[in-house]
Assembly symmetry: C2
Homo-oligomer: 241 residues x 2
DNA sequence: AGTACACGACCGAACGTTCGGACGGGCAGG
DNA sequence: CCTGCCCGTCCGAACGTTCGGTCGTGTACT
């Protein structure tokens, strides 16, 4: 049971179109990957056949194998791209120097940014279940990422900036559960910018959604900088898929 | 590429074992479903073959078709179970009468409870992508659930109990992103009770994780009852899958 | 001529599903 | 008590289809 797919939606756009043949711009591994990941996210990796990819790309199954070694390689390339961005972010100075609570804020904001920048790739990463070698390797790296963030949260508690009545690991999981859920509904056209979204996440995660008796207090409560308030653009999108 | 599955783990336990034959307790649709959903969650629905289910149940492929009409029926039964519990919760008096902020608290706590009670079924529900009719129907009902919760959040903002600088829809999505992430790592044996977990979710969502200058203040800030604090049991589990 | 890209035909394996039949506990007639 | 049938349960062997992947060839550009 396949859901209909448009044939030859559009030619490879990104990543320096290489040679050309029969008037069509040739695929690069990257431009092919972009189409494939889109399909994987729509129907699921296992639910997407190479035939489906052929329809989505406008070339035949066999032609796809000219660019990539296997279906699994497409998956590996995709999750690598997401993971590389996430780990690169962890190694930036603001994420590993300074007060832990500030490092955490940077990690949260940057994670949202990466999620939005690399939406399809991160989406695919978050749905990996461990069926193949590539998937198990991705899961391992995700756990490593989780561990590093947990360490920052733990440190921020020790430094007295975060409340001490929550378990760091649990907090990290809930926090990133919130952040990661973005892939379920974010649409670049309808939703606000990544920065606005990151603001909303920070507000909810750090200050909670309960209204304080003295409005505006939370902003000056500590020296922390809050971006100038302002609600995000409301949208009438699909809430679940 | 299949991940190994134990053969005939245990006979049908729940739901009144029916007749017996060949010394084995016979499967009921429910007990079969339990095994199938477990497999679906491990390998994904599309990634699980009927052969896999045969191994997991200890009976043959063809025998499975004695109990259910098709593979998709197993999926439909599973997601229905989860959705029915969620909607039943929304219709309980505490979820539809009284102050909106209190209703929201009930919805959040009950959702965590349902998630934990029906963990495998909700897990499967949350991974549905819309490939089949059953999946599309599930997505529709999820959206309806989301809409109803959003309405409560909006109302709570209007009643002045929640801060008004966040979009209700966005907040609902982030909130349930946090709650739903529970299915990614919750393990009944290792993690605390559902109530403890719900407490942690409520604390994080309503009061945020930033430490206040006057500790304990948030508890008395409003008349809201907070359960006696206390951190959740830390655990060393898998962080991603 | 050489290279890059794409094609249609094809492969063995695995897929979900069907089918006729076999096993064996429960129950009616003796 | 025993006998014999019934039916719920399960099985092995196939069905037609689709899977991921291969192969030899054609063609356009350098």
């Amino acid at each position: 049971m396949r859901v209909g797919g448009a044939r030859r939606v559009d030619a490879p756009t990104a990543a320096a179109p290489r040679h050309r043949s029969r008037g069509r711009v040739a695929y690069t591994p990257q431009s092919l990957l972009a189409v494939a990941v889109e399909a994987f996210n729509q129907r699921g990796y296992d639910g997407t056949s190479m035939e489906d990819l052929a329809h989505a790309t406008g070339i035949t199954k066999s032609s796809i194998y000219h660019h990539v070694r296997s279906k699994e390689e497409l998956l590996r390339l995709a999750v690598s791209r997401a993971l590389d961005r996430l780990f690169a972010m962890l190694e930036q100075p603001p994420a590993c120097t300074g007060r832990a609570v500030d490092r955490l804020e940077h990690v949260v904001r940057s994670s949202v940014q990466v999620l939005v920048d690399e939406l399809p790739y991160v989406t695919l990463l978050l749905r990996v279940r461990g069926n193949t070698d590539a998937e198990r390797w991705a899961l391992q790296r995700r756990r490593e990422f989780d561990r590093q963030v947990s360490a920052i949260v733990r440190r921020a508690v020790e430094e007295g900036d975060l409340r001490d009545d929550v378990d760091p690991r649990l907090t990290t999981r809930l926090l990133f559960g919130m952040i990661n859920s973005v892939v379920e509904w974010y649409e670049p056209s309808r939703t606000g910018s990544a920065t606005d979204l990151a603001d909303a996440v920070m507000r909810l995660a750090f200050d909670g959604l309960r209204r304080r008796d003295t409005p505006g207090m939370t902003a000056e409560l500590r020296g922390q900088s809050r971006s100038p308030g302002g609600r995000l653009v409301p949208d009438e999108g699909n809430g679940a898929g």
